[in-house]
Subunit: 361 residues, 2 copies
Amino acid sequence: MRQLSEHDIEALAIGAAILGTGGGGNPYIGKLRALQDLRNGRSVTLIGLDELDDEALVLSVGGIGAPIVSIEKLDEGREGERALRALEQFGGRKIDALISAEIGGGNAIEPLLTAALTGLPVVDGDGMGRAFPEMQMTTFSIYGHRSTPAAVADERGNVVLFQHSISEVWFERLARATVVAMGGSAIGAEAPMRGSYVKRAAVPATVTRAIALGEIVLGANRDHVSAIPLICAQERGRHLMDAKIVDLKRHLRGGFSVGDIQLEGIDEYAGSRAHVAFQNEFLSFERDGRVEVCVPDLVAILDVDSGHAITTEVLRYGQRVSVLGLPCHPLLRTAEALAVVGPQAFGLDGITFHPLGDHPR
Amino acid sequence: MRQLSEHDIEALAIGAAILGTGGGGNPYIGKLRALQDLRNGRSVTLIGLDELDDEALVLSVGGIGAPIVSIEKLDEGREGERALRALEQFGGRKIDALISAEIGGGNAIEPLLTAALTGLPVVDGDGMGRAFPEMQMTTFSIYGHRSTPAAVADERGNVVLFQHSISEVWFERLARATVVAMGGSAIGAEAPMRGSYVKRAAVPATVTRAIALGEIVLGANRDHVSAIPLICAQERGRHLMDAKIVDLKRHLRGGFSVGDIQLEGIDEYAGSRAHVAFQNEFLSFERDGRVEVCVPDLVAILDVDSGHAITTEVLRYGQRVSVLGLPCHPLLRTAEALAVVGPQAFGLDGITFHPLGDHPR
């Protein structure tokens, strides 16, 4: 158990953006809010999975919607708390701790904001070990937890409670329609989980790992060295390409940012071409007609100089980027998981998932 | 207080369809289910507004969505009960009675089905005295009742609870998005009301009046006379035109059936042309460039021979129809009401509401 510092939050935002593989929402605004909370005397306590009581009720809280919307339609601040209170009222029991449904992007920060307001601790772990676009794509759902009753709150004060859905995909469909009607982004909280289940199903220690990734980037920039090989070393990842973005298709479809990025190699990669498909997150890296990395493994696109992640909503023609492939956690590579987060689940037909080496733990 | 008979339900379905002004859902399938309930030994008790306890909790139950969908995507049967139980669980108090949000169309029958399953009485009255396409268009909403917390249930078992919305229009927007995601039709129940409020805000005795209208049609057909003048007499309405449908535009937009009907006069109306616009319900009757009847007054399109209502989803080229204008209840003609259910609320710009005579009570 420890209190998160301002430095932790700075590093977490950087590391979470890398694990976000382009999505999960840009952590920048959430980071500013979390820093402000600390400066206002609030605090955020991080607890390890081993410190969690088996009987504790743990709530996952996070943003839902298209990242490209959430950077313009700002949160009001207490959405997560309103969703939490609605679920407490419906269930008749208090929540004991918060957890991120996805460590990738802004959703790494979202539980911290609700924690600062409510005084509840945040569990060191999450339900993806990265970011994914849909809500049934968490290890919590994959290994049997039902997301309903769940709540979605918007910045105006509207709160919708998904009392019961017949499947995780139906929950995703109904919640997505609500979020689109709310303007394209909102904060959601899924059915509270027992501590004993979270210990089994969560991707462990991902808050700590994201902070460590952020510290690598901050350190490399301070020392004027490239962060890329250091990131690959920590995550046992592969440096796939340095490239320039030469074409970019991006549009909003059904509440998602979807599109495709064309890359042309630079420096030692000059002469080679590749492309990356995305649905909020980067889905696949394909070079010379061969898919080299695909979901659930991570495709990260980082600024070639700073090592900072570039999220899909700030991608631009002409950017010079490093593309990395990072192995996902073993919890995402089981047959049950691949049915939900493998290439076919994203409509990437004809692509077989070939694991990209071993996850660092 | 009285038990509804099979004859009452047959007559109610006919009368409700006339008051539905083309919408509210076709009562046919609901009627079959209600008759089956009675034959299975269940019963439905109708109570007058004066018999309602001031402290009673009254729940409005009804179908939401496009009528054209609900005649193909059938209800499972216990949707209303599931919505009711979700609201009881959330509010921590039992519901005492049911009421129709709209007497027009299938929503006259919907509370009867939930009443037969739960044993709760149905109040003789409703929130429209007719049908309207949107949920904020009830006298309950207009005179200050907030619809949330409300619940929407589909035939699969999904239940969504609208815990809090910042306005009636936001409730409508969010619930509509949910219903569209559910496939275009579902059953909804709005926040329970106190008996004392229902006595003040409900359009009174509309179940009884709809049954009386149905009895007129049944009697006229038995006696081989036209029902049209008898209906006009009971409702103090105006026989506008007998006509043939010569053109029909109808499409599904945002979960609504919208369109326009072109009419060419027949018999004594030969040579004159008119058209009727609709959004689930008929909105206006315009002849020779002049709007003669518009919302909130009722435009009813009936079969020229039988006097049975023709709902928007079964309108067809070549049908021979009688068009009637019926005055709405005074509760729909106040300034507060016209802001919500007057012509401007339906985008009929430049049209002023000129009341069509007095309502029969």
